[in-house]
């Protein structure tokens, strides 16, 4: 038996955020295919936008799951999301242009089985468990794929493993300078796992408001995008990486200001709350 310790209604309903998150991430991931069409890497920043969309959706999913008080802390949800997501995402990259769709399906299957294991075998009996773990696996896979696009300009296994180093003016192929070979994927893993669990972990409590948490999720997404954009200088042309970096900085600045605004709106002192009045006769 589970106690739902935090019942907070209001805000945008979860199914709406989920559908919007899936569509926005998929569209952004596919828009990065313009790189192949135009034979440039100028559109890599769409990967970063996919990260932000997926993280906003993911943080709301974590809210749904962790409202039940799963007892293991909010970060564990982020860790299992990316642990299952990375596995689905890496396998999906083998499918070429279909990779984002395959990532969606594979991650959903992995998440579904993990959800079944936790809910039935481990006897968690939480109503939202199976759906949440399924969603989180997809979020993890999309976010990592977004990082891959942002850093390398593509989402196929070949793009993620091939790189080149310039040696005495000659371009020499090197597997070491790549998303997987250089283990940039590990950094992406941690950047994403921290960004997905932080918003709800920071905003939970009686003063939780959805817009503030989702804005923080977007802010975390753009903050991760800044770091990833800087790393992308090693793998994609300078101009393309600069575009990603500028978009990340602008997006982070905007969401940060918005978040501070929401925080001030929700902060007790800002509301000019009075001290608890003395009870009469004391």
């Amino acid at each position: 038996m589970t106690v739902k310790i935090e019942v907070i209604a209001g805000g945008i309903p979860h199914p709406k955020i989920m559908v919007a998150g899936i569509l926005a991430s998929l569209v952004c991931l596919y828009l990065s295919y313009l790189n192949v069409v135009t034979n440039t890497e100028m559109f890599s920043f769409f990967g970063g936008l996919a990260i932000v969309a997926a993280l906003i959706w993911g943080s709301n999913t974590i809210k749904v799951l962790c409202s039940y008080g799963i007892g293991t802390g909010v970060p564990s949800a982020g860790m299992i999301a990316f642990g299952s997501g990375v596995i689905a995402m890496l396998l999906a990259t083998k499918f070429g242009i279909a990779a984002p769709i395959v990532a969606l399906v594979l991650a959903a299957v992995v998440g579904l089985i993990l959800g079944y294991l936790s809910n039935e075998v481990l006897n968690m009996k939480i109503p939202a468990m199976i759906q949440s773990l399924t969603e989180l696996a997809v979020v993890g896979a999309f976010t990592l794929m977004g990082f891959a696009v942002l850093m390398t300009g593509g989402f196929t296994f070949a793009t993620l493993t091939a790189g080149s180093v310039t040696f005495h003016g000659m371009s020499v192929p090197s597997y070491q300078v790549s998303f997987i070979g250089g283990c940039l994927i590990a950094t992406a893993f941690m950047l994403g796992a921290l960004a997905i669990q932080h918003p709800f972990n920071a905003c939970l409590g009686p003063g939780w408001t959805q817009d503030r948490m989702l804005m923080l999720a977007a802010e975390c997404g753009f903050l991760s995008m800044i770091v990833a954009a800087i790393m992308s200088f090693a793998l994609i042309p300078r101009g393309a990486a600069l575009i990603s970096l500028v978009i990340a900085l602008v997006g982070w600045g905007y969401t940060y200001m918005q978040y501070i605004g929401f925080s001030k709106r929700d902060a007790a002192s800002w509301l000019d709350a009075k001290p608890i009045p003395d009870v009469e006769g004391q």
Binding site: M1, T2, V3, I5, Y68, G69, I70, G71, T72, G73, P75, S76, A77, M79, I80, F82, G83, S84, G85, V86, I87, A88, L90, L91, K94, L106, V110, I113, L114, Y116, L117, S118, E120, V121, L122, N123, M124, K125, I126, F157, T161, Y175, Q176, S178, I180, G181, G182, C183, I185, A186, F189
Partner: protein
């Protein structure tokens, strides 16, 4: 309702139907692997399942206290399973990965020692902080006497708490857990690395030396992913906190074994499918 009382009480009972479904699922996944890659792949997958089960079982030994422990109201290390497992297990995994070229036995033992050492240091420093920083003695709330030293616990336990600090049995449990989890994580890494070293050169049409960065990095990230999945599933099994091997929650380990085996087989199959498809 306090935060401690609000902890979900996921029942300690087994669900026989679900366990049977889990076992069937495991056999199906092993069957798929046998179909796509009968020799190398199946052996590697079995190794990964063993590694995943070691992680799942090992995590039960680790004294995880969570937020109540940070306030000195429950025994254990004051953080969540995901953080502890990542700290201890990954320390072991990195140690084992460094020793990978010295052969599987040396590597797994190195990983186990690395994980155990990390947990020993963590438990030691946690007790330092509890005793000298917070001024609380180590006392278990679940048993009257420490099962190893036989020391009486009741006199040291503050009223209204579930115990506090890190009793000796929890310390030993932590080290055992670190050894099992570190060894298991390393085993998973070695198994994936073996498959990739054997198959990637033909797949990518390159020499083994050229693909080594890809093989090591991909095997590493898969091992990390599987490690975290297993650790979090175990965390769900013990609903976040456990005192060590003497805790009644420890008896729930058969459920975690099934869950970890299925989850590792599933993730391992994905890792193998990348190179054999």
């Amino acid at each position: 309702m306090t935060a401690v009382a609000a902890k979900p009480a996921a029942g300690g009972a087994m669900n026989p139907t679900a366990m049977a479904v889990g076992v069937v699922l495991l056999i199906v996944i092993l069957g798929i692997c046998w179909k796509v890659s009968p020799g190398l792949g199946l052996m590697a997958l079995i190794g990964m399942v063993v590694g995943g089960v070691l992680i799942g079982f090992g995590t039960h030994f680790v004294p995880v206290g969570g937020a109540p422990a940070a306030m000195g109201q429950a025994p254990g290390i004051a953080t969540g399973v995901a953080m502890l497992a990542a700290g201890a297990g990954l320390a072991g995994l990195f140690g084992g990965a460094w020793a990978a070229e010295l052969g599987p036995v040396v590597a797994v033992v190195t990983g186990a020692v690395g994980g155990g050492l990390m947990m020993a240091i963590t438990c030691m420093m946690v007790n330092f902080i509890y005793v000298f920083g917070m001024g609380i003695p180590a006392a278990s709330g679940k048993v009257a006497n420490d099962p190893i030293t036989g020391d009486s616990q009741k006199e040291f336990k503050s009223q209204g708490t579930e115990g506090h600090g890190l009793p000796f049995v929890s310390f030993v449990g932590g080290v055992i857990g670190g050894i099992l989890a570190g060894g298991g994580g390393t085993l998973i890494y070695l198994m994936i690395l073996d498959v990739y070293k054997a198959t990637l050169p033909t797949m990518m049409k390159a020499t083994e030396a050229q693909i080594m960065p890809i093989a090591i990095s991909a095997a590493g990230i898969f091992a990390v992913g599987m490690f975290l999945v297993n650790a979090v599933l175990t965390a769900y099994n013990i609903t976040g906190t456990i005192e060590g091997p003497h805790d009644p929650k420890f008896k729930r380990w058969p459920r975690a074994i099934v869950a970890s085996a299925v989850a590792s087989a599933l993730c391992g199959l994905a890792a193998i499918l990348i190179v054999v498809m």
